[in-house]
Symmetry: C2
Subunit: 327 residues, 2 copies
């Protein structure tokens, strides 16, 4: 295993310490590093809380800040955070207007966030993100997996929370954005979880995993490496088919790197995905290209389309000040 680590058990703590030291203008760690929170909460604003296993950085810690999340709970690598973490985070962030949980659809996360919601003192609502069209049910999921589309949900709902909308309205908005957001990914190489010390899966020199999950879970099929154009066609095509959007619908196009793919290739894929979407009548008008929802050092990418309307486009455009999204 070739990684910059000291001891496997210390990777998460040392990484969080680094994050907090570099970005003390934006975020802080809670006690015992149980959560990452904005430097200052806004009284009366609904708090947005997300979290999940680590290894997907910058999600979610890199999305904590004005205009997006109030607090994020980092689990160990590819492991759900505990209800205890979520409860303490919710309690710290709740300034009286309640807390919205944004939860990617994995069984461990669903169960732990549900327990935390039940035990919380204040009002809690939950938005479940399940944007991955690759497979129904999977290794760790009943129903579809939550993947890169989470960025769209957290950004758009985060902007709406900043406007002072109430908990019920934000829950409705989050569900609506999720319903209009679809993704699919492909892996060219595996990732290596530090605690495992070896690649999660093995791919031949000429193989790729089409429809891979963000933990390296199996996708639709393992096939021979194809051209960028063919891959873009399959990923974007699957997303478009599932969205079944009215012609001319504007959309956010997110081409997300899984960690090990260079920007050069991501932009190449993005150019292709854009043209495929346009040819199908969906009109990408907002773009995001880069490593946003990663799988450690996995080479690969996912393509997300999130349909927009005037309201959600304005919320996407609203100011955001986090480590990884800032405008």
């Amino acid at each position: 295993m070739k990684k910059f680590i000291n001891a496997v058990d210390d990777v998460l703590a040392e990484s969080l310490d680094g994050l907090a030291a570099m970005h003390s203008d934006i975020l802080e760690l809670g006690p015992e590093r149980k959560f990452i929170h904005r430097r200052a909460f806004t009284p009366g604003k609904v708090a947005l809380l997300s979290g999940g296993g680590s290894g997907h950085e910058p999600m979610h810690g890199g999305f904590v800040g004005t205009g997006m999340l109030d607090v994020a709970c980092p689990g160990h690598v590819f492991t759900s955070p505990t209800p205890d973490q979520m409860l303490e985070a919710a309690s710290a962030a709740d300034t009286g207007a309640g807390v919205l949980f944004i939860v990617k659809n994995y069984e461990g996360d669903r169960m732990n966030f549900a327990m935390a919601a039940e035990m919380a003192d204040g009002p809690v609502e939950t938005v479940v993100v399940d944007d991955d069209v690759a497979v129904e049910n999977s290794t760790w999921t009943t129903g579809r997996r939550g993947v890169a589309g989470t960025v769209a949900v957290e950004k758009i709902v985060g902007a709406a929370a900043e406007q002072g909308r109430d908990l019920a309205a934000l829950k409705r908005l989050g569900d609506a954005v999720n319903a209009r957001t679809r993704s699919m990914g492909v892996a060219l190489t595996s990732c290596t979880v530090p605690a495992a010390g070896k690649p999660t899966f093995t791919l031949g020199d000429n193989e790729m995993e089409m429809g891979v999950g963000i933990h390296g879970e199996p996708g639709r099929r393992r096939v021979a490496l194809a051209s960028a154009a063919e891959i873009a066609e399959e990923l974007t095509g699957a997303v478009l088919k599932d969205l079944d959007a009215a012609p001319g619908t504007p959309a956010l196009l997110l081409v997300n790197g899984f960690g090990g793919t260079p920007a050069m290739e991501l932009y190449l894929m993005a150019g292709l995905a854009r043209r495929i979407a346009e040819a199908a009548g969906v009109r990408p008008v907002r773009f995001l290209v880069g490593n946003y929802v990663t799988s450690l050092e996995m080479a690969g990418c996912s393509i997300t389309l999130s349909l927009l309307d005037d309201e959600t486009m304005a919320l996407w455009d609203a100011p955001v000040h986090t480590v990884s999204l800032r405008w």
Copy 2:
């Protein structure tokens, strides 16, 4: 070779098309994709022009925009752009106040930028960046290599150009920033140049290249993989020794990923580097962590310290609106 490409010969063009399509609010491509330029030039402002081989994205195209570069010339992967590209770019960007070339110290780049400077109609000055302390002279270099410290030079000089400083003043500032900026990197894996189709170099399962260059050039020595703490100590120690800064000097700390290393590990390294610098009396007060000067998909990172004073800190903090740096 596992990459998202169609034909090897089209990688650069298709990637540039993707970049331009995603970020048409910030940048445009010049004729025949010879350069990437800001949407609008500012009359009377000195134009900042940089460039170099592709494969280091987001450098330099991702740094084109208000507060940083006016124009960037992308060569083929790890190959200098041509004097012809530079000349056309300079001619497009020069609004009467001259052009400052920011050139990383590689023989091909030096020679081609010098030819362009000689042939240019308007006044041209050149700042050469050579921040890499790993080796004197190397595969493609007489003297030290220019690496991640280029980001500090381009950002700080870019902000000063925005204030209306003249060409001579910007040349002096660029040289001064370069003189106070030092870097060193390490590779855990090789990169693969598309046209070569196989890894640039080979490392054993337990080896790393200490002092590697951003094209995978050999560094100081090939040694057994060490702990993050030991690696951070060697990289930061070499940078600190060469800087020989007065105790208490404030600095920018840049922990730069080469493309294949996850954010989690970069932040872990950043936390270590910060403490090592502080223990040595240099005070990091500004931070940048991420993939800024990459070597395609190489796993590894570099550590840069750039000593600041009140003036350069204010210029670092000044607004910037590019694809990859924005505040």
